[in-house]
Amino acid sequence: MSKQIFFDSKNDVAFKPKRFLGKTLIYLILIFWAIICLFPIYWTVTTTFKTAPDVMKGNLVPWWDFRPKWLGLKSLGLSPDRIFVESTVREEFLKRFYNSMIAAVGSSTLAVLLGSCTAYGLSRFKYRFGFMRNSDISFFFLSQLILPPVVLALPFLVLYKELALLDSRVGLIALYTLTVLPIVIWIMRDQFSSIPTELEEAALVDGLSIWGAFLTIIMPIALPGMVAAFIISLVLTWNEYFFAALLTSSHAKTLPVMVASQTGSQGISWWSMAALSLAAILPLIIIAVILERYIIKGMAAGAVK
């Protein structure tokens, strides 16, 4: 064997305490922040199963310093012993849950449909509408984001009263669609401008109409963007409270309004509040865990040009 040509310099093989410390510090900070982010959720989940003395004593770890009870779910009529029994609380809760779901899914779907068409049109054709060109029309849509809900809330209260849309899910869906439409257009515009126009040109040469090309060629390619826009709309509309609190009273009341209306009685039934809050946040937590990359994709749209 010949003699060794390459040597690791002393600097390379040496244990670097500074680097090791840096890594540890990074992990410590990350874990610390993860605890800050997750502890309130943990607290809510455990409180659902606590009795009053457990709450007072501040017990934290189930089976170790308190015994989980079905109290929280029982108060919603969802515990194992109540689930097959008639329960007005459960009916009420399920109705609110259902309302929230209809409002969120309905408005997100509508917003994604309207928004994708608009974003596609704006990214492919040049429009002229009076003095308004494409950039002005884009700005017109995006500027709706600045509009604070409070400006629209009171006029809509009066308008909906006249239109008999107060306390109806349709009214909520229309308003929610309006609030998320600019965000959808923002995300979808980004998505469509990354798709080369040659694709449609080829499709059009082959005899498809422009809508045919849009529906059969472009939509499937833009699907990830649409999913991202849909999920972000879903998050915003599911959590919406302000309009729902003003415009609904009994029939179309959504889950956040139900949660808010119970906060007055806190201190008495912690477990039921915790269970309600948990129900309000759980669907989105599941979505966040499964579809995290779409959410990130949606939020990153426009951040990177």
Binding site: I26, C37, R124, L157, F242
Partner: protein, 369 residues
């Protein structure tokens, strides 16, 4: 509205539109518009009880509006063929936004100059500038505006924290996906649930976990919503908690778009990490940061849910945001006129402020070399 010849999409279309087809298109638009107008006139007459037609709501007008909008969209295709089909992409959304924003805003201007208590039988009474005079001497509204300034300033520390977290997440670490999901979580949660989870239960003075922690740290009688400054600070913290992930993810996306070569070049040149950050990362992140902060400001200006549910503006209006103040104004006194006036003033202030900010942002994000 018409598409000009030079589109981004290069296609040639040939449309021969016969006169009969053109007439049909015009008839559709104007016919449905006439129906809409007749209904509006009939309903207005009914409203002012000149005649009695037995309308209970304005629903018929709404349906007529839908009919007109549909006819307008359809007629585009009949009238303009291929060009009309292209207009169909944006026309529904334009009509939707105009009918949902512009019309209510004009309506709001009408309400703003009147005294209108929804629960009283008198109905709407025009009162000129009385609302403006009332606003001028309303200390709580000015206080709410002042609080908004504080809340907006709180974005600066939020941004710094978000930036640090994004840099940490972007470094060579294991379990990055877990941390990303965990950090994203607060953004998913409904503000109402957050205000119960954190504001009402974890900050509960006697046995909330945070109160316990604070007590062991030496603050004997914690009161989070007792004094003005602390209450405002707690609201800021809760809002920051939910929205830091948003800025963090935008910044993280920006960080990952920075080409690696730049860092490698700096490394070869022997730049210390601190300098590398200030000379490369930060300047390159400026446009993304400005976008993130602008969007964050827009969201912050809508801040209300947490305040309404945790403090309802207290103590003594110290935590009020404009939105929550108007909300209570309506809930307590159900005076739609005054509330709308305040909201319109707020909107004007926001538009001025945002225009100024966007102009400034354009100047800042332009490279200065």
């Amino acid at each position: 509205m018409s598409s000009t010849d030079a589109d981004y999409l290069h296609i040639v279309t040939q449309d021969k539109i016969s006169d009969r087809r053109r007439d049909l298109g015009r008839l559709m638009i104007w016919g449905s518009a006439t129906i809409l107008l007749i209904l509006i006139v009939l309903q207005s007459l009914d409203q002012f009880s000149t005649f009695e037609f037995g309308f209970t709501t304005w629903r018929p007008t709404l349906y007529a509006y839908f009919f007109w909008a549909t006819c307008l969209c359809w007629a585009q295709v009949i009238l303009h063929g291929e060009q009309g089909r292209r207009r169909l992409f944006i026309l529904p959304a334009v009509l939707f936004v105009i009918s949902m924003v512009i019309f209510p805003l004009i309506f709001a201007l009408g309400i703003a100059f009147s005294s209108w208590n929804l629960s009283s039988p008198d109905g709407r009474q025009f009162n000129g500038f009385d609302n403006a005079i009332e606003m001028w001497s309303d200390p709580f509204y000015w206080n709410a505006l002042k609080n908004m300034v504080w809340y907006i300033l709180a974005i600066i520390p939020e941004y710094i924290i978000a930036f640090c977290l994004a840099v940490l997440l972007n470094s060579q670490i294991k379990a990055r996906k877990f941390f990303r999901v965990a950090f994203l979580m607060p953004l998913m949660l409904s503000p109402v649930a957050v205000s119960w989870m954190i504001g009402k239960s974890m900050l509960e003075i006697r046995f909330g976990p945070i109160s316990r922690l604070v007590r062991t740290l030496g603050w004997d009688n914690p009161s989070f919503f007792g004094s003005d400054e602390i209450a405002r600070f707690m609201i800021m913290v809760m809002d920051a908690w939910t929205f830091i992930p948003f800025m963090m993810i935008m910044i993280l996306a920006g960080l990952q778009a920075i080409p690696k070569e730049l860092h490698e070049a700096a490394e070869v040149d022997g730049a210390p990490p601190w300098k590398k950050f200030w000379e490369i990362t930060f300047p390159l992140m400026l446009p993304v940061s400005i976008t993130a902060i602008l969007i964050r400001i827009i969201f912050k200006l809508k801040l209300a849910d947490i305040i309404i549910n945790v403090t309802s503006g207290g103590p003594g209006g110290a935590t009020d945001s404009v939105t929550s103040f108007i909300y209570r104004e309506y809930r307590d006194r159900s005076n739609v006129g005054y509330g709308t006036f305040l909201a319109i003033v707020y909107l004007i202030l926001i538009v001025i402020f945002m225009t100024f900010l966007i102009k400034m942002a354009e100047r800042w994000s332009r490279p200065r070399y």
